[in-house]
């Protein structure tokens, strides 16, 4: 009975989540940074500048209204240095205050390059395509890596995987990979 109830709840929750995500996909306010033209990132200097302005913008907005951080959050990308400086002003008192619900922060980049902080929907982690990226992360950093998960790949490669997951996300398909992943 306990498990039965649990399942029912879980299913409802997931279906809800599906619809939420589905709605998001259709909306034009795409919340991934994937929607940004990649040319912005071609050169280090321009990416740095972009990071800097974006960071300042974010922080300025965050100061004006704390609720705006959520709308802005997913589009926000920062280089690692900035986020380490600014992302947890409460000294870790609250859990990941700037991360939207249902998502988590990961760092994407390659050795000696910029690591970009990207928000990823939590359920992507259960997707087999994402699993490959995680295996690479484990090989490079081990499981005991402190802090957020760091994925050692080019941001373009990472975006490609995200896009593929996103494209495959009709509810029926999602259900089938969920089933595969949990069996």
């Amino acid at each position: 009975m306990k498990m039965g109830r649990f399942r029912g709840f879980s299913m409802k929750h997931r279906v809800n989540m599906l619809f939420r995500v589905f709605r998001r996909n259709r909306s034009t306010t795409g919340y991934y940074r994937l929607d940004r033209p990649s040319s912005c990132w071609k050169t280090k200097a321009s990416s740095c500048l972009f990071n800097m302005t974006n960071y300042l913008k974010t922080k300025a907005k965050a100061i004006c209204s704390s609720s705006s951080a959520r709308n802005l959050g997913p589009k926000r990308i920062m280089s690692r240095g900035y986020t380490q400086f600014g992302h947890d002003p409460n000294g870790g008192k609250t859990e990941s205050s700037d991360v939207p619900k249902g998502q988590l922060a990961v760092y994407v980049g390659q050795k000696d390059g910029d690591f970009q902080r990207v928000f990823v929907p939590v359920i992507y982690f259960n997707h087999p395509l994402f699993g490959q990226l995680l295996r690479e992360a484990e090989e490079e950093f081990g499981y005991n890596h402190p802090g957020a998960i760091t994925i050692p790949c080019r941001i373009s490669e990472f975006e490609h995987v995200q896009t593929r997951i996103k494209q495959g996300r009709t509810p029926r398909k999602l259900l089938s990979w969920k089933r595969q992943a949990s069996s």
Partner: protein
């Protein structure tokens, strides 16, 4: 959309689904499941009460645990007490499962032969279990050579006649909570010795034992590892690091040590510590390293001291998971959505057994024969379910 469901390995499925489930609230004798968590909120035993919880992170649960209370030998007049085991496997679930099946039986057998519980009896039980497992590896060498690369940590506590025997191989830990009437708090006393290469004395011991091998401990991913492979310096199993005969084909090269060796690299011998119980000693927390990578000894005893006994092991696990979520920059509620296997990127399998030492009950010997408990932590998901 089938959720994996755990089965406790004791008879009578605690995670039963169906119309009678509501009747099993709280007093469930065999524990229950909630997603990847298995727990037993509170149970009673000869020397007090206990609470257990296990959370699975690996695709196959590698942690195992058991609690046996009552007679500690096959003799009616023999010693009685409580036996607690926490077995944290690595490379697969086989060794920790094997220990869960055979260590207590070996202990009882040897305690019967010696007609006592002693450090020597516990050590012999460990070595007998190691020997049995290695002989299994040998038996299955041709059809299942990968068994040679599976091992486990092994932490045992035996509470008997006012003493706590702690025997440990690997990096699980037991911490005692001792009341401090002066300020109304509880202080933490670690009773186990750990064998993890992150500890300098462990590295020194290894270098001393292998003076000709400069690569005996290597820093990899900012973590010290024996031969660059494994964090623990002692274990049950890991046959390929004990005997050169298992460090070769048909064991796949990726599981092998590239160079041959003559002296065993890992040691199965437990570190044993005997603690005489003090009236101020309140409880013991046994846990695999999954808990201790997030909580300090003092944080753990404070939690046990400040909250009610019922469900305290689950509370400790949740405290660790909340910290794990914070480290990974996410919410605890979102961490729960991540499937087993992938979960390993966020935390390890975690096992917690809390034993409350109600010392007045130790002397009530007439209860001993009537209170007999045998419970094992969840077996975890062992095969895909349709």
């Amino acid at each position: 959309m089938v959720k994996p469901c755990w089965k406790p390995s004791v008879e009578g499925d605690g995670s039963r689904r169906g119309s009678d489930g509501t009747a099993r609230r709280g007093g469930d004798p065999n524990g229950r499941c909630d997603g990847l968590m298995w727990y037993k909120d509170l149970g009673s035993l000869v020397n007090g009460e206990f609470s257990m919880a296990v959370i699975q992170a690996n695709g196959l649960l590698e942690d195992q645990c058991q609690l046996e209370s009552g007679s500690l030998s096959f003799l009616n007049s023999g010693p009685s007490g409580t036996f607690i085991g926490v077995y944290d496997g690595h490379g697969g679930p086989e060794t920790s499962r094997f220990i869960n099946e055979s260590l207590f039986q070996n202990f009882k057998k040897i305690a019967t032969e010696h007609q006592e519980v002693s450090a020597n009896v516990i050590k012999k039980a460990f070595l007998a279990t190691e020997e049995e497992f290695i002989s299994q590896v040998k038996q299955q060498w041709l059809e299942k050579p990968q068994l040679a690369s599976v091992g486990s940590c092994c932490l045992v506590g035996v509470i008997c006649d006012g003493l706590v025997y702690v025997a440990n191989v690997g990096d699980s830990r037991v911490v005692l909570g001792r009341a401090e009437p002066a300020y109304g708090g509880v202080t933490a006393l670690q009773l186990s010795t750990e064998h993890n290469a992150s500890i300098e004395s462990v590295r020194d011991e290894l270098r001393l034992l292998h003076p000709d091998d400069p690569q005996i401990v290597v820093l990899k991913h900012k973590v010290w590892r024996v031969k660059g492979i494994i964090q623990v310096s002692r274990s049950i199993g890991d046959a390929y690091l004990k005997k050169a005969e298992f460090n070769k084909a048909p064991l796949l090269a990726k599981f092998r040590l590239p160079e041959p060796f003559s002296k065993q690299i890992l040691n199965p011998e437990p570190s044993i510590f005997i603690h005489k119980l003090n009236p101020k000693d309140q409880f013991l927390i046994f846990a695999s390293d999954g808990l201790w990578e997030h909580l300090t000894n003092q944080e753990a005893v404070d939690i046990v001291h400040n909250y009610s006994r019922n469900g305290i092991a689950k509370r400790l696990v949740k405290a660790a998971l909340k910290l794990a979520a914070k480290k990974r920059e996410m919410r605890y509620s979102d961490l729960k959505k991540i499937d087993r296997g992938v979960r390993r990127h966020f935390h390890d399998d975690i096992t917690v057994v809390v034993v409350f030492l109600d010392q007045s009950s130790v002397s009530r010997s007439f209860f001993r024969s009537s209170t007999s408990v045998s419970i094992r932590g969840s077996r975890g998901v062992s095969s895909p379910r349709s």
